[in-house]
Amino acid sequence: MAQAIAFYFIAACILGFAVLVVTTRDTVHSVLFLVLDFLFVAALYVLLGAQFLAAIQVLVYAGGIVVLYLFVVMLVNLKRPPEAHEDPHRRTKLGFGLAAAVLLELGAIAVYGSVNPAAPMPATPAIPVSGNTEQVGWLLYTSYLIPFEIASMLLLVAMIGAIVLAKREL
């Protein structure tokens, strides 16, 4: 029961802040709502027993990536609102249409789900005896070692790319 309340509260916050991220005029406010959104996603991970991932979510997303966004927003101090220019080829209506269609589908699934409920989540989410961090670490360094290394290469390439792009004199 407590878990259900927590889930609904967190889910409502996630969706609410996500809507605010997309709709807010002021970019800085938008970034702030994004941080809040990520913090609630981290809370959701805790609810799912993924504490390590929750910590990583806060550390990397909220404390790293979004700071980068904020940094760029501050550097790009805008003289005119970015939304002024309108592209005639833009298919805004299509976006809303698509969203409406998927929303309809979601509603259908939700209704169907409440009629034929699926198997509930395991009561106390998976916290193996050895601990969540060990479990993830073990998987990362055994079965998924190569993807892990590739990811690190990706980050290296991204770092170099970002430096090259942002550097003034090459």
Binding site: V28, H29, L32, Q51, A55, V58, L59, G63, G64, V67
Partner: protein, 340 residues
């Protein structure tokens, strides 16, 4: 019911209040210690030897007019001090002030909670604290604070990388992310990690100074360059919150360094039988003494050293601290594997 709700609640209340009192008295301590270093007396007027000065300061700051600049971003301007204060306080949830002791026939642990990602929790919560500074600078809609917050965001992110990388080698030694387990590991391995990981200790200390914006890394609030930095436009209680957050962060860094490197609540030489009588001193006293040493060190450094320049600071972070941290990590890993 009592164990589940009442005792944790009581612990939270005690820790929060103790922290806030400690933070206000840190201000006095800093003023006093710096004054002594500079052959002055420091505050002497309010109460004997100025001991009531923090209360006078608090009253002054509370009744001062709280100005919001006309062209500031009002919501963000108001939220920024709170954003910087909250992470500084919630970090205390995982800091172990002592082991589990029996109190009035009841087992009570001298920490609010012990989660299995404790250290990671501290690092991640601390990384959110940077928003307070960035947003304060941005929302003031003023040039000096903006420069300061650009400086702050770059500085804090860079040093966070260095500190986190260094902490990994400590985690490698302890084999756990839980703060309590790290202290226990120091007991079981018969060594404080400051002796096992001297480089890591120095790196974390330097990184901690930079993370808390303390001299010689106090660029975001360099009064001589940026007229006060990110809090130039703040006054009254909102300014006080920034001020308190900085000191709360100092206490956090001291506590974390104590826990990770100086054996937390353990007395000196915990495994030497002859010194067993040291266990009669309450464990949290040791913790407080060790933390105090670091706080004193922070103040001492502030009284002594000039300030780094922005580019030098970044160079130190990226070209010295991070490579050293990685090197330390690699060496620790190799030694650990060889010992196994």
């Amino acid at each position: 019911m009592i164990d589940q709700v009442l005792i944790p609640l009581l612990k939270i209340v005690i820790v929060l209040n103790a922290t806030l009192v400690a933070v206000t008295y840190m201000v006095l301590l800093e003023r006093k210690v710096i004054a002594w270093a500079q052959s002055r007396l420091g505050p002497m007027r309010v109460g004997p030897y100025g001991v009531l000065q923090p209360i006078a300061d608090a009253i002054k700051l509370m009744i001062k007019e709280d100005i919001t600049p006309v062209r500031a971003d009002k919501w963000v301007f108001t939220a920024a001090p709170i954003i910087s204060m909250v992470p500084a306080l919630i970090v205390y949830a995982v800091i172990p002030f002592g082991p589990t002791v029996s109190l009035f026939g009841r087992k009570v642990s001298l920490y609010i909670t012990d989660i299995n990602v404790g250290l990671l929790y501290i690092v991640s919560v601390a990384s959110v604290g940077v928003y307070g500074i960035i947003l304060a600078g941005y929302s003031s809609n003023s040039k000096y604070p903006l420069l300061a917050s650009l400086r702050a965001s770059a500085q804090l992110i860079s040093y966070e990388v260095a500190v986190t990388l260094t902490l990994v080698s400590v985690i490698l030694m302890a084999g756990s992310l839980s703060m309590v387990e790290i202290v226990n590991a120091q007991y079981n391995q018969h060594v404080w990690f400051v002796f096992a990981q001297p480089f890591a200790f120095v790196l974390v200390l330097i990184g901690g100074l930079a993370e808390t914006n303390r001299a010689p890394f106090d660029l975001p609030e360099a009064e001589q360059e940026l007229t006060g930095g990110f809090h130039t436009e703040y006054s009254g209680m909102r300014f006080a919150l920034f001020f308190l957050a900085e000191y709360a962060n100092m206490i956090v860094v001291s506590s974390v360094v104590t826990t990770l490197f100086l054996g937390g609540w353990l007395p000196p030489f915990p495994n030497v039988g002859a010194l067993h009588l040291l266990y009669y001193v309450p464990s949290w006293t040791w913790f407080l003494i060790k933390s105090f040493l670091f706080l004193y060190l922070f103040i001492w450094i502030r009284a002594t050293l000039p300030r780094y320049r922005y580019d030098q600071l970044m160079r130190l972070g990226w070209k010295v601290l991070i490579p050293l941290a990685i090197l330390n990590l690699v060496v620790t890993g190799i030694v650990k594997v060889m010992l196994m």
